[in-house]
C-alpha cells in the first residue's frame, strides 16, 4: 500500500521531461537504457550540465577570495545556491545551510562536532534498524571512542519502524536520535513528526538522513522541526561531490569546527585562531564551487516542475510497479510499509539478485543488486541481498513494463 496521490497529474508530461536528460537517450547494447537505479544516483538534466559548463568556461574563479570581478561573481553564484537550498527545504536562515561533500560527510560532521564532545561513558546514541551504513558507522565509531552505547529502534516484518516502542529507547542517557527520512533499502517513509515530537519531549536532538527523501518529497524544516537534516546533491539531479547539512543555528553556533583550514577562520596567528562565523566555520578549504552552482540549477529545475507534481507522478508509477510485480510468481517484495517512497526491493525464490541484475542489464535495465549499504536490513529479513529498483519522475509505465518483461526472461532462463 502507498499513500494515494492527492491530485491526478494534469500538467506533468514525462515525455517532455525526459528530453531534459541526455543520458536517458543512451542505448545499452542496442537497447534503450531503462535507468532504475535512481536511489544510488540520478541522471542530470541539461540545465545542471550547462550551468557547470558555463561556469568553468566563462565565469570561473575561486570564491571568498579576490576583490576582482570574476571572483566576486563566482562567490555570488556559489552563495546563491545557499539561498536556493534554504528556500527549497524551508530553513529559517541561510547560515543554517552548510556545504559538505555529501550525506556521509554531513553525518560525520554532526557526529564529530556535535555528538562527540557531548558524549560521556554510558551515554546512548539511538539509531534505527533500517539505517544506511552512513548513518550507522560514524555513530559506532564515536560510541566506541567514548564508551557510549549504540541502541537500535527495531522495525517490524513489513519494514515499518516500531514507533510505539520508541519511548522505551528514549532515556535520560540518549544524546541524539538519528533516523532516515526514507529507507534506501526498503522505501519506507518514517513518521518523522511523531519521532521528532517524542524525542524533543525528552530534550533529545534529532538528525535526519534525508538522502532518499529530498528528491521525492516536499521537505520543510519548519514543519519537521528536526535539529539536523543531511542530504546529497547527486541523488537529487545535481552533481556529485556536494551535499548539505542543515542545522539549527543555535546548535551550529555552539559546535566546534569539523575541519581546520582556509575559509573557516577569521584570523590566524601561530598562537591563536579565531573561527569564522556560520556557515563558513564548517567550510574549510576551497569548496566544490561548480558543483554548488550545478546543485543550484538542479533545485531550480525541480522547483519549476514542482515537488508535488513529482511526488504524485512517482506515486502513480510506484503503484503501477507494485501491482505488476505482485503478479509475478515467486517474486517477493521486501518492505511492505504503508507509507512508501519510490524504492522497491524484491527477491525471487531460488534466483540470486546478482543473476537477476545481470540478465536485466542485458535488456538495458539498470537496477541495483546487493545489500544497498544496509547489511543489517538484509540480516533482519534473512536474505543476502535484494534487487532494488528505484524510480524517478523521468521513468515511465513502459519502463516498468520492460522491467516486468525482463524478470519473466530471468524466470525463463532459470527454468
Amino acid at each position: 500500500m502507498l499513500m494515494p496521490a492527492k491530485n491526478p497529474i494534469t500538467s506533468f508530461d514525462v515525455r517532455k521531461v525526459r528530453k531534459d536528460f541526455p543520458a536517458l537517450e543512451l542505448l545499452i547494447r542496442g537497447k534503450p537504457l531503462v535507468y532504475l537505479d535512481n536511489g544510488a544516483s540520478t541522471q542530470k538534466p541539461s540545465a545542471v550540465l550547462e550551468a557547470m559548463d558555463d561556469f568553468y568556461r566563462s565565469r570561473y574563479a575561486n570564491v571568498h577570495r579576490g576583490v576582482y570581478e570574476l571572483s566576486e561573481k563566482a562567490t555570488q553564484s556559489f552563495e546563491e545556491t545557499r539561498d536556493k537550498v534554504k528556500n527549497f527545504i524551508h530553513a529559517g536562515d541561510r547560515k543554517e545551510i552548510i556545504f559538505v561533500r555529501g550525506t556521509t560527510e554531513g553525518i560525520n560532521l554532526v557526529a564529530h562536532s556535535f555528538a562527540r564532545p557531548r558524549l560521556q561513558e554510558g551515554d546512548e546514541v539511538l539509531i534505527t534498524a533500517m539505517e544506511h551504513h552512513a548513518n550507522i558507522v560514524p555513530w559506532q565509531m564515536i560510541c566506541a571512542e567514548k564508551k557510549a552505547r549504540l541502541r537500535v529502534v527495531p522495525m517490524d516484518a513489513t519494514g515499518t519502524l516500531m514507533v510505539d516502542h520508541l519511548d522505551s529507547y528514549l532515556t535520560d542517557k540518549t544524546r541524539i536520535l538519528c533516523v532516515a527520512h526514507v529507507s534506501n533499502a526498503l522505501g519506507t517513509i518514517n513518521p518523522l513528526e511523531t519521532i521528532i515530537h517524542k524525542a524533543h519531549r525528552m530534550g533529545i536532538p534529532v538528525l535526519v538522513d534525508g538522502a532518499q527523501a529530498v528528491p521525492h518529497l516536499l521537505v520543510d524544516m519548519q514543519e519537521l522541526g528536526c535539529d539536523f537534516y543531511v542530504f546529497s546533491s547527486h541523488k537529487m539531479y545535481g552533481p556529485t561531490g556536494i551535499g548539505i547539512v542543515y542545522g539549527k543555528k543555535e546548535l551550529l553556533e555552539a559546535m566546534s569546527p569539523y575541519q581546520g583550514g582556509g575559509d573557516m577562520i577569521s584570523s590566524v596567528t601561530f598562537e591563536k585562531t579565531t573561527y569564522n562565523d556560520l556557515p563558513y566555520k564548517f567550510e574549510a578549504g576551497t569548496p566544490a564551487i561548480a558543483e554548488a552552482i550545478g546543485l543550484g540549477a538542479a533545485i531550480d529545475y525541480l522547483q519549476a516542475i514542482g515537488m508535488e507534481s513529482i511526488n504524485s507522478f512517482e506515486n502513480e508509477l510506484l503503484a503501477h510497479a507494485r501491482e505488476e510485480l505482485n503478479k509475478i510468481p515467486k517474486l517477493k517484495l521486501i518492505g511492505e510499509a504503508f507509507c512508501r517512497s519510490s524504492i522497491f526491493s524484491f527477491t525471487i525464490d531460488g534466483i540470486h539478485p546478482h543473476d537477476i541484475a545481470s540478465i536485466l542489464d542485458r535488456e538495458g535495465i539498470a537496477v541495483r543488486a546487493g545489500h544497498h549499504c544496509a547489511q543489517p536490513v538484509m540480516d533482519f529479513f534473512k536474505i543476502p541481498a535484494t534487487v532494488r529498483a528505484s524510480l524517478s519522475f523521468y521513468n515511465t509505465r513502459e519502463e516498468i513494463d520492460a522491467l516486468v518483461r525482463g524478470i519473466y526472461k530471468v524466470l525463463d532462463i532459470f527454468g
Partner: protein, 151 residues
C-alpha cells in the same frame, strides 16, 4: 539472449541448483572463508590434504548462480591434485573467465570448467566465478584472513 544462454548454460544452472560436495569435513586439515564484500557472496571451504594432494573437499556458503556453480565444479575438479597443479589450473581458469585466452577452454584441459567461458562477456561477474578459487588457495595456505577477490 545468446550471451545469457552461454553464461547460464545448463551445467551451470544444474550445479547452482544442486551443488556437489556441500557441507563440512569432519577431519579437515585446511580451512578458509571467502567473502565478496561487493555482493555479499560467502563461501567456506574445508580440505583434507594428505601428502601434498587434496583427498577431499566440502564447501558451505551462499551466492549467485555463477559463484555457487563455480565452487561446486571446483570441488569436482581439484580432488587428487597438488597445490601446484591447482595454481596452474586456476591460472588457466582465470584467463578463461577474463577473456585472456581466446581459445575455448577445452584445449587447455579445463574439462568441465570450460563451461564458464561465457563469463568473459560479463566483466562484473568475474569475481563471482573466482571467489571460490581464491578461497581454495587461501585454505591451502591455511590463511586466517578472510579471502577476497581483491589482491
Amino acid at each position: 539472449m545468446s550471451e545469457l544462454r552461454e553464461l547460464y548454460q545448463d551445467m551451470i544452472l544444474d550445479h547452482s541448483q544442486h551443488p556437489r560436495n556441500r557441507g563440512k569435513l569432519e577431519k579437515a586439515t585446511h580451512h578458509a572463508d571467502g567473502f565478496n564484500p561487493l555482493c555479499g557472496d560467502k563461501v567456506k571451504i574445508d580440505l583434507m590434504v594428505d601428502n601434498g594432494t587434496i583427498k577431499d573437499i566440502r564447501f558451505e556458503g551462499s551466492g549467485c548462480a555463477i559463484s555457487t556453480a563455480s565452487v561446486s565444479l571446483l570441488t569436482e575438479a581439484i580432488k587428487g591434485k597438488s597445490e601446484r597443479e591447482i595454481e596452474i589450473l586456476f591460472g588457466k581458469f582465470h584467463d578463461l573467465v577474463t577473456g585472456k585466452n581466446e581459445n575455448s577452454g577445452e584445449s587447455d584441459n579445463l574439462g568441465k570448467l570450460a563451461v564458464f567461458q561465457g563469463v568473459r562477456e560479463f566483466p562484473m561477474r568475474v569475481k563471482c566465478a573466482t571467489l571460490s578459487w581464491h578461497t581454495l588457495l587461501a585454505a591451502l595456505k591455511n590463511e586466517k584472513k578472510v579471502a577476497t577477490t581483491e589482491k
